[in-house]
Each structure stands twice: as C-alpha cells, then as structure tokens.
Symmetry: C2
Subunit: 137 residues, 2 copies
C-alpha cells in the first residue's frame, strides 16, 4: 500500500484531509443527497454544529475538494459544489456504505441499491458522476 508510514503514507495523507466523521458526512450530503447550501448541511439528521460545519467546509474548500460560489438566485448565500477531486472520493464513500449496510442489524439501506453498488460498482459511480458532468466542461 505504501513504502512506509508517516507523511509518505497515502492513507495518512488522505486522512489528514477528510479523515473525520463530519467531513465524510458533508461529502455524503454533497455527492449523494445533492445538498448545496450551508443550511441544508446544518439540517442533516446527525445534528452537525454550526462551528464544526463552518470549519470542515473551509478545510474541504482549501484542499480543493469543494468549491464555493455565490448563489445566483440569492446573493446572500453560497453554493457548495464538488470538484473532480471530490468525485474521486466516491469509491471510499460507497465502500463505507457497503460495510455499514452489511453490519448494521437495523439498517434501512435499500437492499437492491446496495446490491447494485456491490455488483455494478463502476456503473453506480458513473451514474453519480453523470450528475456532475458539468465539471468536465
């Protein structure tokens, strides 16, 4: 996986950027639930606090994982969008979902959707990437 630990380890590199629960939940909200606005992230059921949300959005933006632009429909708010670097996080997020659906005895994850992720992983990822096709233009 790597030839050493510490700062040369690709796992450590990644985890320093998004290796915390809240960052990954924000990324889920952006990539899967199509959330774009600060208040939408704040309203997620997990109850992220406003200071953690602001901190994580700033960090993800500074790392080039999300971009922030003024909302053309409401100049008082911003739109947060994924970058290509963010779309490359999809395999990680899907694998986290697969594990959770397998081991949570009370999971409500739709079995047919989880089966699709397991069996046609590439296709499933392509479908999500297609939503953000404008990033390739």
């Amino acid at each position: 996986m790597n030839d050493g630990e510490g700062k040369n380890c690709p796992i450590f590199f990644s985890l320093e950027i998004f290796g915390d629960k809240w960052s990954l939940l924000i990324l889920r909200d952006i990539l899967h639930f199509d959330k774009q606005h600060y208040n939408e992230f704040l309203e997620s059921d997990e109850g992220i606090s406003t200071n953690i949300l602001a901190d994580r959005l700033k960090k993800l933006e500074s790392e080039g994982i999300i971009s922030k632009e003024k909302d053309p429909d409401n100049k008082k708010q911003f739109i947060y969008s994924p970058t290509k670097k963010c779309l490359d996080l999809l395999p990680i997020i899907l694998e986290i979902a697969v594990w959770g659906a397998k081991y949570d005895p009370e999971t409500k994850a739709p079995p047919e959707e989880m089966a699709k992720i397991r069996k046609n992983r590439k296709e499933y990822i392509q479908d999500i990437r297609a939503k953000f096709q404008y990033l390739d233009q």
Copy 2:
C-alpha cells in the same frame, strides 16, 4: 445509498465506529503492516498518543473489529488481531490509499503496487485476506 440520514444511514453507522483518523491508522497497521502489539502501534510514525491508542483499541474491540488475546510468548502483553468484520474494511482502506496516492504530489507509494490495487482490486484484497486465513477455520 440509503433511504434517509441519521441513524438509519449506513455511512453514519460506519463512521460512528471507525470514522476517525486514528482508528483507520490502527486498522492500516493491523491489516497492512501486520502489527499486533500495543507498542508497535505506538511506534508508528504518526505519533499516536497512548491515551488515544488505548481508547481506540478498546472501541474497536468492543465493536468486534479486533480481538485481544494474551500473547503466548509473553504473558505480560496482548496480541491484537483482525476479525472477519475487520477484513471487510479492506476495500475502504484501499480506496483511501488510492485517493491519497493520486493526490499527494509527494507520494512515495510504489506506483506498481497502486496500479495493482486499481487494476486487480479483488486479487489484491484476496492476497491480504489470505494472510488471515486462520480466521475462516
């Protein structure tokens, strides 16, 4: 990925268990570097503190992700081993490595190993699982 957020979300379920940098680094140490002892985890280059290490090991054990047994060679220490539930985390850890190797401009991850993960992901995972084959017995 799921039909809602909050406690029914498989991603949230997973992240509540291992969604922090240190837990994932310990899992890397166990699955990739074949570390087994408390002091080996403590010596990893990232410099985990002893209280965080103890806390995460306890949590991972209580969640059934690792098992803890007296070391037959030295009754004063313990051996930490992965469970099957832990082996199912391999895809997540590999994807985190793939992303890090792609985006770290100073990565030292061996290109041929990363290419193998990308191209023969299943085989790569099987090779690691084979190291822990005794779990299937």
